[in-house]
């Protein structure tokens, strides 16, 4: 069976009833979709099928023959992150990271479908509603999606510098006048 995954055509051997999650993770080594519950309850396995979010754990392979599948690996890599990835990074939308892939793909589909125009907090909450996170309490995630829907971008170099730099350090250590 043939699939388009992140822009590349893939020939897969799994049977027609194998879950798309299993095919991605075990056959194609694409591991960003997670097996959180394998019964459609948590959203951690969400991928985009022809641009629409879908639970890959409940998706039989036969139903996506010829479809375009997008996972987080098909968004942007470090250095060329999409607005959604930037916002999740800069606004602390990811904590342990296990639900993050599904969250980001649901957000990506919402923003792609609307161009971000007039996306309300309520719409974000509805779209993200089926995605469980046990770390954040959701506020940071929703704020990240809001930022991305407004088209906010972040200077990641600046962010990284904030994490490492801090100007001249005042030393307590007596170095005997030597600097």
């Amino acid at each position: 069976m043939r699939l388009m995954v992140n822009g590349a055509e893939q020939e897969v051997d799994s049977g027609p009833l194998a879950s798309l999650l299993h095919v991605l993770r075990e056959e194609l080594d694409i591991t960003s979709p997670k097996a959180g519950c394998q019964q459609g309850g948590c959203g951690a396995c969400t991928v985009l099928v022809d641009g629409k979010p879908q639970r890959s754990c409940l998706t039989p392979l036969a139903s996506v023959e010829g479809a375009m599948i997008t996972t987080v690996e098909g968004l942007g890599d470090a250095g060329e992150l999409t607005a959604v990835q930037q916002a999740f990074y800069a606004k602390y939308g990811a904590q342990c990271g296990y639900c993050t892939s599904g969250m980001m793909l649901a957000a990506t589909a919402l923003i792609d479908a609307t161009n971000g125009d007039g996306v309300t907090r309520q719409e974000i909450e509805e779209v993200m509603g089926g995605h469980l996170c046990r770390c954040t309490g959701y506020v940071k995630i929703i704020e990240a999606v809001e930022a991305a829907s407004r088209g906010e971008t972040f200077d990641l170099e600046e962010l990284r510098r904030a994490g490492t730099a801090g100007g001249e350090e005042t030393m307590i250590l007596d170095t005997g006048g030597q600097s």
């Binding site: 019964q39 942007g76 342990c96 990271g97 993050t100 904030a162 994490g163 801090g166």
Partner: protein, 457 residues
């Protein structure tokens, strides 16, 4: 200081948003087998027959694990602290809770492992389960362990804190305020279920990729089940996909390691969501009773408490959790006369364990709800009641720790501020400084003295 107050990006944030973080389930090695488990379908009973022969004969099955396989099948999580081990890794002649592990299979795929599990035959002689901790002291109830339904804290059947003269406090009281609080079991439910990948190495050592929150602790536990010294095991941790206390239990690592040793192949055990909810340890249900001796003007003169902690079927970490709970039973308040007991009660529920403030969140819920109840019964402001009785420098806790820097007063003032509550100036300007004047009533003048009076009676 350049770090405090600064905003830092998450150190692993870029890996998360690019899907590159590698969790245990994302590791795969050549020849890797998958594990599935057989767990008890009943709450309590004797195992009268266990036959794994059909499962062992199935194509693609490399190992079937039962109680005969571990070097030691009964290892206590706190045995090095003197808590007697009682829980078998794999059930032998009885099961004490639904979901208790009986057997595990390693096979070429998860599907094949599950087929083999379904072919294992087990017969039970069911017993009446004991499920209500409030009946812990009723001898007519089913007994969960051969030693009864209550853990024995040498030299008592409970953990206790005594300070001051609680009888005096209750004689003096204008009002006795009573309350009963019952926080329920909660599954930690991280989105990543517990998983382990065990790899037997050519030199006889065992590498274990683990989702544990407690590396060295889990390593020690696995070493005991395998009967090997620590230098025969290499533990690989990493990013945990949420834990919240549920990943200190070392539930999957021993099974993966024992199967890997038996099959001589790498084995991955990724617990299912059903196993997480049904069989892996949860936050405990508690039954907490508080009775306070209170004066009309809002002083808590004394407190009696009784706590029942539902340990589930085995001791696990409960002896520690219920003790920590007890030591926090006065909350952030100074109560000079206390008589506090906590009991660890066995039931036929799944064993209970840590979750976000092990033992303490339950008692904080009870104590803070009780504070509001006291304020309601006295008709005074709950803010003022808390500030008045709040810990101050020089106060003694129930366990006789002299407080040097208690944060109760500033914390409550910050809460009032955040909630937009206006306090009278004598409260709004309160500091945690040592008690004097109005804030040093007679019953707090000598916080140790009454203890001697109590002891000498």
């Amino acid at each position: 200081m350049k770090a405090v107050g600064a905003r830092f990006p998450r150190y692993d944030g870029l890996l998360h948003v690019t899907g590159r973080t590698r969790y245990v389930d994302d590791f795969k090695v050549p020849g890797m087998l998958w594990c599935r488990t057989l767990r008890s379908s009943i709450d309590s009973g004797r195992i009268t027959r266990l036959d794994t022969s059909r499962a062992e004969a199935l194509d693609g099955v490399y190992a079937v694990l039962t109680h005969e396989d571990p070097d030691r099948n009964v290892v206590g999580h706190l045995e090095d602290l003197g808590v007697p081990p009682d829980m078998p890794l794999l059930a032998e002649d009885e099961v004490r809770h639904k979901g208790q592990l009986i057997a595990a299979v390693a096979a070429e795929s998860e599907e094949r492992a599950q087929q083999a599990v379904d072919m294992i035959e087990v017969d039970y002689e069911e017993r009446q389960p004991f499920l209500d901790i409030r009946k812990a002291f009723d001898p007519d109830q089913p007994q969960v362990t051969p030693d009864g339904n209550v853990y024995f804290y040498d030299p008592y059947d409970h953990c206790r804190v005594r300070k001051g003269d609680v009888d005096w406090a209750f004689e003096q009281a204008d009002v006795i305020v009573k309350g009963c609080y019952r926080p329920q079991a909660i599954e930690q439910a991280p989105i990543e279920t517990q998983a382990a990948l065990a790899i037997p190495e050519a030199d006889g050592k065992m590498t274990v990729h683990s989702t544990t929150q407690a590396m060295y602790f889990s390593m020690g536990i696995v070493a005991k089940f395998l009967g090997v010294s620590l230098n025969q095991i290499k533990f690989v941790g990493g990013t945990v996909g949420g834990g919240f206390g549920g990943k200190v239990d070392t539930a999957v690592e021993p099974i993966a390691a024992l199967l890997a040793r038996k099959a001589r192949r790498p084995v991955k055990y990724r617990s299912t969501r059903e196993e997480e909810f049904l069989a892996l340890w949860t936050r405990a249900p508690w039954h907490i009773e508080i009775a306070d001796a209170v004066s009309r003007d809002g002083w808590i003169l004394g407190r009696r408490t009784l706590t029942l902690h539902d340990a589930g079927a085995y001791t696990g970490f409960s002896a520690y959790g219920a003790m920590k709970h007890l030591h926090h039973s006065a909350g952030a308040y100074t109560i000079p006369n206390v008589f506090m007991n906590s009991y660890v009660v066995y039931t036929n529920h799944v064993p209970t364990s840590a979750m976000r403030g092990f033992g303490v969140t339950s008692v904080s819920f009870a104590v803070e709800t009780h504070m509001n109840r006291i304020a309601g019964e006295l008709g005074i402001s709950p803010w003022e009641l808390r500030l008045k009785n709040g810990n101050r420098i020089g106060d003694l806790t129930p366990t006789r720790v002299k407080l040097e820097d208690p944060s109760t007063v500033p914390t409550i003032l910050a809460c009032a501020d955040a909630a937009g509550v206006e306090l009278p100036s004598e409260y709004a300007q309160m500091t945690p400084g040592e008690r004097s004047g109005e804030l040093l009533p007679e019953h707090l003048e000598d916080q140790l003295g009454k203890a001697d009076a109590w002891r000498n009676r």
